[in-house]
């Protein structure tokens, strides 16, 4: 719905920056609520006849100063979580993939066609089917080109990414994770390809993370390098770097991010964490 440079996103970026001292969950909640609020205003203003730019301007104006809202939010006492609430709602389905040499980095690709036409609510199976769809051949080729070892597909995720410890501004409905192994057992990259469905429109983003332990050992891993990127609606890929100076507004820059894959080894993910699909979406 929103352009990365839109007034709504600028406000959300500013709010995110102001809320940087809050915990991840509280910040994510506040940002999700603000986003929903702003987009609701935009939708209503457009329905009432306003142009998008004017609708966004009105939404931002009506919301008020992000500094003031953030100040009030920061002053709000927080209830300590009584019990663990999983961040990831859906269970990932793990898919085996083929070994291919690293190819050239793709700097642009189109969204999965089937997913782009999907309803707002996805099941895991639907999400996997969208990825498997033959229309997504270019995505499959892309996954191969960066040496993907496994793809994990899940729907219903509610997750935020953070290039500098701050969450980005959107959540995911359908997630495709591409796991790489640059060295046997170490230095893996997780490329997350997101489909976000907002008002019938789909935006995409990716995250590149290098880790020093298998992804399943989440408590042991340490993120050492990463960048986030988005797939623009014009199909190009833009990167949101780890440079904090990009905040509070979004800072996108073009450039290479995906490292060439080195020697590939199979990641022995435990069955309890994953299960194979009957077919590989990355099969040649």
């Amino acid at each position: 719905v929103t352009d990365p440079q839109s007034e709504v996103d600028q406000l959300l970026g500013a709010l995110r920056f102001e809320l940087r001292s809050l915990g991840r969950r509280a910040r994510g909640r506040a940002l999700d609520e603000a986003r929903d609020h702003l987009l609701s205003v935009v939708e209503d203003e457009i329905a009432a006849g306003s142009a998008r730019a004017e609708a966004e301007r009105r939404a931002v104006e009506r919301f008020g100063s992000p500094s003031m809202v953030a100040m009030a939010l920061r002053a709000t006492p927080r209830r300590s979580p009584g019990r663990f609430v999983p961040v990831l709602i859906g269970a990932a389905l793990i898919i085996g993939v083929v070994t291919l040499p690293a190819g050239p980095v793709k700097d642009e690709f189109t969204p999965p066609a089937a997913l782009a036409a999907s309803p707002a609510d996805l099941t895991k199976a639907q999400c996997a089917d969208f990825w498997n769809d033959a229309a997504n051949a270019r995505w499959h080729a892309y996954a191969k080109s960066i040496g993907t070892r496994r793809a994990a597909i899940g729907a219903g995720f509610t997750e935020t990414l953070g290039a500098d410890g701050q969450p980005l501004l959107w959540t995911a409905e359908c997630t495709v994770r591409l796991w790489l192994a640059l060295r046997p057992g170490h230095w893996q990259q997780a490329v997350l390809v997101y489909g976000r469905l907002v008002g019938g429109e789909v935006l995409y983003g990716t995250s590149l993370t290098s880790r020093n332990a298998p992804p399943v050992r989440s408590r042991q891993r340490a993120t050492i390098q990463w960048s986030n990127s988005v797939v623009r609606r014009n199909g190009t890929l833009a990167f949101y770097g780890p440079d904090r100076s990009c905040l509070p507004s979004h800072c996108y820059r073009d450039g290479p991010a995906f490292l060439p894959a080195g020697s590939m080894t199979w990641l022995g993910l435990p069955p309890a964490w994953s299960r194979s699909l009957p077919r590989s979406p990355l099969a040649p």
Partner: protein
């Protein structure tokens, strides 16, 4: 009525708007405007700190829903919230009665 005059009353206003039933923040803002005949002008973002405060105090509870592919938090009054609203209403009536008496007597 400007935001400054509303300061200190937003929590009560939010509780009152939730009396009609569960609502998300944007709907609450609309209900506040509608139920007050547009008398209250507040920065809409300020409703969220109020909601979070009220939840921390146990006066409202909330849960996530989904709308148009995005997360939406829906709030509802708790039993304690209903009791608090009734108490604040009583306090407000007493305050307004006293203030009216004072103002009308001074003119």
């Amino acid at each position: 009525m400007h935001a400054e005059a509303l300061r200190g009353h937003i929590d009560t206003m939010v509780l009152a708007a939730l009396r009609a039933g569960p609502a998300h923040g944007y709907a609450l803002v609309g209900a506040l405007a509608e139920q007050s005949d547009g008398a209250f002008e507040l920065a809409e973002g300020t409703v969220y700190p109020a909601l979070h405060r009220l939840e921390a105090d146990g006066l409202v509870e909330s849960s996530w829903t989904r709308y148009a592919g995005r997360r939406r938090r829906v709030y509802r009054l708790t039993r304690a919230g209903k009791a608090a609203l009734a108490e604040r209403h009583r306090d407000w009536r007493a305050f307004a009665r006293g203030m009216n008496t004072l103002l009308e007597g001074s003119t």
